[in-house]
Subunit: 397 residues, 3 copies
């Protein structure tokens, strides 16, 4: 139950990371999106998501099953077939609901500073309400990936990549921010508050204690504490990997890259936090941290504009972490590695396809992108009529 | 015990919400007040509050009972007559002490930017040290409201309305900030940092996990997790209710209103978080969120200036939440509804009367309000001699 | 396990307190240092620190023992000889690792705004990786201070003074910031964001629930909850003590001093949080709060420049708290007091000497201090090439 509170605070972490790494003229917009996502996530998951994800006896094989609409309490308040019996039904529901909204939050960072609020909210409702629980069911709801032996402890693929694929499709369809790629040169658009971004990264790490720790789905102290150790080691190694590469390549002490390295390490360990040893966790984190640097450079070369590095962190490291389960730790082996690849590919194809369809329809109807005037003047002024910061001179009434 | 830490962090949440929604020239003053309230609350509750609230065998009926002064440990370290036996005495004490300071924090938001620091601190000592524990005893200490059957799970009335009534009396006696109501027009005085206000609202929601979750007063996982679900659903529905009304009426995407809607939903569910079902929680939150919008408009029309919306959130939604126990959920019924109304009225009258007396005496002696010069130039410069933010040009030593 | 998360968030608290109380031109540098310390602390503690601190059967008496390099899991996943059996090995390791990094964080605050990043990082690796675990072993690893009867519940000496002594030596070797002591006058260099400093202090108090609560090393609810009560009372009394002295002496309502008073109270109670009663905790906190004011004044008179008051908080109050175990509470007595003094002196001498040697070598080789030009223009621009805050005019692309 404590873990629910920790996962909850990750939403604040994401919000602060995003606003810190973007410009102040779009700050209200980003905060508004993230607050709405959280509320939408909890409500749609109550209405339909939870039942889509855990169809129980109504799952007849295949890609889809739906128990019923709305949240109905089992007579004894305890969990049914597909749930761990030590957990109460309600705890499980709320923990999962907090997860669900995460996928849309990842997209939010990538599309920041140029997406239309209405388009984003409609996309989020559909993606969080339908797509996330369907892929989640494939593994966690007892679906075909579970039967196959695909392993994803706390969601490197099922949470982070699900968000990451949608983020990738979104920025392809949206295009880059004005001024990012000018005359063949990749411009730097620095964030307006690195302190807030740092607070965000700390809160995400803090929340990950709950994200991975809570995914043990029982309070077994031996497993949970091991998961926390692998999580923290991967985070530290991730940040260190990014630092070393940045420093060797450019002699830089780049704080925002190190923060993303930490997050990459966290995403990387998420698929196998319970099956890795101490050394494995450090290696996985280190590689994730290095991967971030090259992933960011690759996106820049492809002229794909991801203001906060969400795709590098969540998609690249999500894929890496899922693969790592087949390479290191107690499950390692060729057979497992193939299962992992299969899961990555099938989830990726489904997410990329569905998010393309939703976004393409939105683009052709209400439009995805704000006007050039609105983008330049800032989304806060146009969509919200409110500035994030007001400076008052002394003596002003 | 974890819940104590969560309720503790609500004080940071309140502080940030308040400074975010007010002007930077009064930021130090608001932070100072909130830090002092927390320390005063813990110390006065140790000295007298806890014994006033839980008089135990020294309660002889009526409105008042006092066990002894100071905190004395029962021989076995466990709780006595009026305490849940699964809880230790110390845990219970500290949890209640963190609650106590909340009432004064609510007042702090409403009176921000114009009250004298000394007057506010004296008021807080008396109100937190005496008034809050006396009304608390009526229900939680085994007093006459408990005997009557009045129900208030975690304090929609006993915490939030107790603070809300004092806030209402305070702003009537204080008057509006200079510039708020000018020439018959209600001016908008925007806050200086919406990001900090958003962090505050997130931390309050986070802390509410402890506030409501901890009020179960035992670690029964089934009840606690249900309470967390109703709490989160009401918060989401509250924010959604405010969003929908603002959007329908004005086409606005107003972040600060949505944040208050979330808080209103949280206050609304607090009285009955353990007796409500999923649908009830959503309805209660939704109505609370809608209520906020009209309550804010009503206060503006009455020329009552509440800079952060504290009265709309804590008093209006506190009353609504207490009534809702008689309308929805397992206790619903005419008899219960009358009990709820009786509790609301009697607590309201007592709080309004006592806070009027204290504040009126302060007004006639040391005065409630800072000078016009001090208000215009900012309380930070005059009461604290320190600015919240210092901007250094590069090259400045 | 929850306590690990709480101690983790103290690192964010330290970071925000430090940047809030210093100038914005050095903000990135301070955040970078603190993020690196955390990662370095976790990784070096894994590699060598934990085994140095808990040598187990390889400890042959004296000052030093080393089990092995790297982290090796006991066969049953549970703890061995020197560990509490109710705790898992991994939980214990991670909790201790989070502590280890704290010592370097304390130094970071004192040396802020003028130390070379490279020198600081090298110092941190050695001090956190070797010195902290060696002194920690003397008591917590079953070493000679434990055998003697020296008592330090959660580290007033073994964490806070260990950091404090190194901080003191550092600022002696470094010298004051340019402009702090000019023409015989002690200048005031105000921090750039008191709100962030306040958030930092709140998070530190929040984290202290875990720091002291977790140090019970078992989930005994009676002891843990008592520890939380003494912790909160000492914090409140500390802040109140500082407030009263500042107010009586200068008529000031100085927020940043009150925040340091709270932290001083927390440091003061840390050595004896489990052996003190309610009244003792209040007295210890109050004296700690008063001590802060005089300690800050003394450092100013000695022309020692500690930008955030780290030495007054962690060293002065760390010594006071350790002494207090011999004066108040269940262990009080002359014999215990002499043991406490012996521990303070021997740890102090070792830390002062070792940190002097490390820092002196660094000063003679790569140098400790940035150039005058770099200090004036800010470390962010020179060491990181990034500004903490970017202000965009509306319409700017």
């Amino acid at each position: 139950m404590i873990c629910i509170a920790l996962v909850f605070i990750m939403h604040l972490g994401f919000s602060l990371l995003e606003i810190g790494l973007t410009r102040s003229k779009n700050t209200i917009n980003i905060l508004f999106k993230n607050v709405m996502i959280l509320m939408i996530g909890i409500l749609t998951y109550t209405l339909i998501g939870f039942n889509l994800m855990y169809p129980g006896e109504d799952y007849a094989g295949g890609f889809f099953g739906l128990h019923t609409l709305g949240l109905s309490l089992p007579a004894n308040g305890l969990t049914g077939d597909y749930f761990n019996n030590q957990y109460t039904f309600y705890t499980d529901f709320l923990f999962q609901a907090m997860f669900a909204a995460t996928a849309a939050t990842i997209v939010s960072g990538a599309v920041a500073e140029r997406i239309k609020l209405s388009a984003f909210l409609i996309f989020s409702i559909i993606y969080v309400g339908l797509i996330y629980p369907i892929t989640g069911m494939w593994k966690w709801g007892g679906g075909f990936l579970e039967e196959l032996g695909f392993y994803d402890f706390a969601g490197s693929t099922l949470v982070h990549s699900v968000g990451g694929w949608a983020a990738l499709i979104s920025i392809i369809l949206l295009g880059a921010r004005i001024g990012k790629f000018k005359d063949g040169i990749t411009g730097v658009i620095p964030g307006h508050s690195i302190p807030l971004a740092t607070v965000g990264a700390f809160l995400l790490w803090f929340g990950w204690f709950g994200f991975n720790g809570g995914s043990v789905l029982s309070a077994d102290p031996a497993v949970t504490s091991k998961v926390l150790v692998t999580t923290c080691l991967a985070a530290s190694a991730g940040g260190m990997g990014t630092f070393l590469i940045s420093w060797i390549r450019h002699g830089e002490n780049d704080l925002s890259m190190v923060l993303n390295g930490i997050l990459g390490g966290l995403v990387g360990i998420t698929a196998g936090a319970d099956v890795m040893g101490v050394t494995h966790a450090i290696i996985i984190g280190l590689i994730a941290g290095i991967l971030i640097v090259f992933s960011v450079a690759l996106l820049d070369r492809l002229k794909l504009d991801d203001p906060v590095g969400a795709i590098s962190v969540h998609l690249s490291c999500g894929i890496w972490g899922t693969l790592a389960v087949g390479i290191f730790g107690t499950l390692a082996g060729w057979h497992q590695l193939l299962n992992q690849i299969y899961g990555i590919v099938i989830v990726g194809m489904f997410c990329a396809l569905t998010s393309f369809i939703i976004l393409f329809i939105l683009k052709r109807t209400i439009g995805l992108r704000v006007s050039e005037k609105e983008e330049i003047e800032g989304l806060d002024a146009h969509e919200h009529g409110l500035a994030a910061y007001s400076n008052y001179a002394v003596n002003e009434v």
